[in-house]
Symmetry: C2
Subunit: 279 residues, 2 copies
């Protein structure tokens, strides 16, 4: 590091990405695409998933433990790639890690939706937990008073993504079945928000169901854009021209993480690529 400015040294530190499981790998993948020179360290709290059924106090505690484990790895920014943790624990994490920037997935998704369809009719596809917390509803409402927001819990889409059955007639008929009551109630969305980190894998089936004129907002891509902007603003971009490194951590189940996670990352993973950590 001799001769480096502090900024350049800080820039070489990794971005930490945290999720309750493998879903956040879609956000990691978006970060890799947007910021190919950044080092990334991903932590999936697979031993304690799903977060959606846990109490807010437990979720905050788990998220803070995960954030501290990532902080020990010298991260320069934390991306909370989990809708439940973003909804519940973002403020607590921001305080705990200050002055490190902390970014969730809900706010970037809501901002992108409002920008894509001002005064629009937004349909948020999410898990039961995210719908119950109403985080997108609040985040969009704060940005656009004219917007109408409908939230739809689609648990089967998580199972579909994890099983890797992401396109074809089964995926399309499941998406269509979830959308049927929305259509029946006369709601005609002009923007669909993929409010679960698993759902970008199903984008093709979702587009097939809602039609090509509807804006699809993928919180993975928009979160990566916000992360890039915040790093540039803080002078923390990695100035190297080499491809950034990737470290994958999980709290349990390396074999399953490798099998399912490989699908999310679009590359083959082996169990030995995953480091098991204890929080």
């Amino acid at each position: 590091m001799i001769g480096d400015s502090n900024g350049a040294a800080a820039g070489r530190r990794p971005i930490g990405v945290f999720d309750s499981g493998v879903g956040g790998l879609t956000v990691l993948e978006a970060l890799r695409e947007r910021l190919p020179h950044e080092h990334l360290v991903y932590l999936g709290d697979t031993a304690r998933l799903p977060y959606g059924t846990k109490s807010p106090a437990s979720i905050s505690r788990y998220a803070c433990q995960a954030a501290m484990a990532l902080q020990e790895r010298g991260i320069k920014m934390l991306v909370v790639a989990c809708n439940t943790a973003s909804s519940v624990a973002l403020d607590a994490l921001g305080k705990r890690l200050a002055p490190l920037p902390v970014i969730g997935v809900v706010e970037p998704g809501a901002a992108a939706a409002v920008s894509a369809r001002p005064g629009g009719t937004h349909l948020v596809l999410a898990t039961e937990a995210t719908v119950r917390l109403g985080a997108y509803f609040k985040a969009i409402g704060e940005r656009d008073r004219e917007a109408r927001v409908h939230e739809l819990a689609c648990e089967m889409l998580v199972a579909l993504a994890e099983e890797g059955w992401t396109d074809g007639p089964i995926a399309e008929s499941i998406v269509a079945r979830y959308l049927q009551p929305v259509r029946d109630s006369g709601v005609d969305p002009d923007c669909v928000i993929l409010g679960c980190t698993h759902f970008p894998l199903l984008a093709k089936a979702i587009v097939a169901a809602v039609g090509a004129g509807v804006a699809i907002v993928d919180s993975a891509g928009t979160t990566a854009a916000v992360a890039a902007h915040r790093l540039a603003e803080a002078g923390l971009l990695n100035e190297s021209n080499e491809r950034g490194g990737l470290t994958l951590l999980a709290t349990d189940g390396a074999t399953r993480f490798a099998r399912v996670g490989g699908r999310f990352l679009g590359q083959r993973l082996d169990a030995c690529d995953i480091e098991i950590v204890d929080l």
Copy 2:
């Protein structure tokens, strides 16, 4: 209780039924049908599900905590209505609760399959965790050396059952897709074991996929039969002619438990029907 013999008083004690979530309600329902006069107390450890991704030591600890909570309610028998806990913790629970009888779901299912198709080709439909533990494989092999056993992880069927999409074209096409590689590899089962407590809800779709000549072994029904037999043997049947009572306990999420569990029990449940307990 004055004037009662000890046996009659003991008979009025409830049967405890334990599962990691709502799936075990299919076993509870089978017990209600088989033993309508028995009082039943069900505990779903919804705060810590799924057990399948946890280590054996954690599963045993959780199961023992749940069993002790049920023991405090004066149970006369414990039914472990969870394939993962049955595979991992049955011996530990038997020792902990002795002399109370403890029954799991794997052994009754395996015995029923061997009895239905001696020397047969068994296909076990289960979760990833149960397949990984190989419990049905071992339990059938110990009873029938001629038997061939194939185990198939079908995670999507759990999501289907919880969503209540138990019949119709989506359920049937998902079951058919899981079975396709089995057929392609030339395996032609003459017995299908529903090796997950969620799967009896999907029996119709499974029968449609495998054909009517194949024996379907439902561990819920066979476990209830074993429970009835063990109670009769021990002189612990409730001699009352009144319908037995039902107490539902969960460790988290009464609203979701009521909504999904009501589907499993075939009766409407409200959140206030579920008592939340802390283990």
